[in-house]
């Protein structure tokens, strides 16, 4: 009987140790996760180490959310220009530009709705900001309207 009691006491002692260790580990894990400092920018987006900074694709939609491009936009990442021809009769005052950027990059200013492209002599510009938020490249969007023969 005494032997049984001793075994039980030892078992309980061991259990207590294990439980305390597990709790300590969990608390340490939480503390580590909470304290790790991931840098984020003013938009709450992660700042990474990526330095690439370019536009990979460009789309232009009308009020009917259909493309107004006559063909694929020509993106020159060296000259930082996007040349896009739109259909004859396109309403240039209400166009929704859509940029596809390299991973982690972002666009400035943000596009929140339809944009007025009607002033063809003053093309619109957007700046691509790389994932590391240190490199910035300004792209000019040149819109031309399909000419009537």
């Amino acid at each position: 009987m005494n032997r049984k009691r001793i075994i039980k006491r030892k078992f309980n002692k061991h259990m207590k140790k294990y439980i305390i260790s597990i709790f300590a580990l969990i608390i340490a894990a939480f503390a580590w996760v909470r304290c790790t400092d991931y840098p984020i920018d003013e938009d709450g987006l992660l700042i990474t180490t990526r330095a690439q900074c370019y536009v990979s694709n460009f789309e232009l939609l009308g009020t009917d959310y259909q493309t107004v491009r006559t063909k694929a936009a020509v993106i020159d990442t060296t000259a930082q220009t996007i040349d896009v021809e739109v259909f004859y009769g396109t309403d240039l005052k209400n166009l929704w530009p859509q940029f596809t950027l390299v991973t982690d990059a972002k666009l400035d200013p943000k596009i929140t709705g339809f944009v007025d492209f009607s002033n063809l002599t003053t093309p619109k510009q957007w700046t691509v900001v790389a994932g590391n938020r240190k490199i910035k490249k300004t792209y000019t969007v040149n819109v031309t309207v399909q000419a009537k023969p």
């Binding site: 009020t63 009537k148 023969p149």
Partner: protein, 328 residues
């Protein structure tokens, strides 16, 4: 310690297994014998003047108890001509087809009440009620009280509504043709030829044209008379046709009442109020099947949604359907 756990857990497991396996005795529920009724609204979407609101009114009493003698619907606003309660009860056969069974005389409508008197000895029926929305109900709400009487002296009733009747109007399948009826009047919800347009000049809001121009995509177009003549090539407008209609092109907004397709989209009064017509053009070229446009007339009195039901390049025609909302 392990043994203690085992001793405590085993009975618990048994209890769970037994409780999960206990079968409950099923008994067929007994049908109620007292007179009872139920009603559903069958039609969907906004209730528009000139269209029906459709209901199915079901009533039944115990087979041995008696028979139904009459059914009646009372609307809060009298229905227009074409309002009726069916004198057929329907059941659906194995092929899914609704089969009518005559149960009484054709319904009689007096004022707001529509009644069917039963001639068949029946203890159950499901009658359809079609309420033709009258002009008086525009912008108001309408309610319905369905009721039925049985030979036992019992009577039942069921109230439906209130349902809001839309302020907007609707016109289906107007055919615009490049060589004849190319003028559209939103005020009249009609299409006109040049001579008719000249005599209704102030009401002409849009001009239809079809052009196959090499090098550009023009095709089917709707342009306001005041638009740049560039978008009205070869069109000589009748004198006085000068309205500047605001035009917002859309695609894929297939309102079920206009398109009569399977899409569960309905344009209602509130949608017209929300459209922003600032800085919008006064034309739309290359209009395709299933495309459409929100428009606002030059005087701001009407806003409308035009849906393109059909385009025909050979005939140079476009079939459109319109929902129109009066703003002022």
């Amino acid at each position: 310690m392990k043994r203690i756990y085992f001793i405590f857990t085993l009975p618990l497991l048994f209890a769970i297994v037994f409780s999960a396996c206990t079968e409950e005795e099923y008994t067929v529920p007994e049908a109620k014998t007292e007179f009872q009724n139920d009603c559903i609204k069958r039609s969907l979407g906004p209730n528009i003047v000139g269209l029906n609101i459709e209901f199915v009114y079901a009533m039944a009493l115990g087979e041995q108890a008696g028979k139904i003698t009459s059914a009646q619907v009372e609307a809060s606003i009298a229905g227009a001509t074409g309002t009726y309660l069916e004198n057929n009860s329907y059941y659906t056969n194995n092929s899914g087809v609704d089969i009518p069974v005559l149960i009484g005389n054709p319904s009689a409508t007096t004022g707001t009440k529509t009644e069917v008197v039963f001639t068949k000895d029946t203890c159950a029926a499901a009658l359809r009620y079609y309420y033709m929305i009258p002009e008086e109900a525009r912008g108001k709400t309408v309610s319905f009280k369905f009721s039925a009487k049985a030979s036992t002296g019992e009577s039942v009733s069921y109230e439906m509504g209130p349902y809001t009747i839309a302020k907007m109007d609707m016109k289906l399948d107007l055919v615009l043709s490049d060589n004849n009826k190319l003028y559209l009047s939103v005020a009249d919800m009609a299409v006109y030829n040049a001579a008719e347009a000249a005599s209704n000049a102030a009401k002409i809001d849009l001009v239809y044209l079809y052009r196959a121009i090499t090098g550009i995509t023009f095709a089917h177009a709707l342009a306001s008379p005041a638009t740049d003549p560039e978008y009205l090539p070869g069109v000589t407008l009748p004198s006085g046709v000068t309205n500047n209609t605001r035009f917002v092109k859309v695609y894929g907004l297939r309102d079920q009442q206009l398109a009569r397709l399977q899409y569960g989209i309905f344009i209602d009064d509130v949608d017209f109020e929300k459209i922003d017509f600032t800085n919008v053009p006064n034309y739309g070229i290359n209009m395709k099947l299933d495309s459409g446009a929100w428009i606002e007339t030059a005087d701001g009195k009407y806003r409308a949604y035009i849906f393109v039901n059909k385009v025909d390049n050979t005939k140079k025609e476009m079939t459109i359907s319109i929902k129109r909302y009066t703003m002022k």
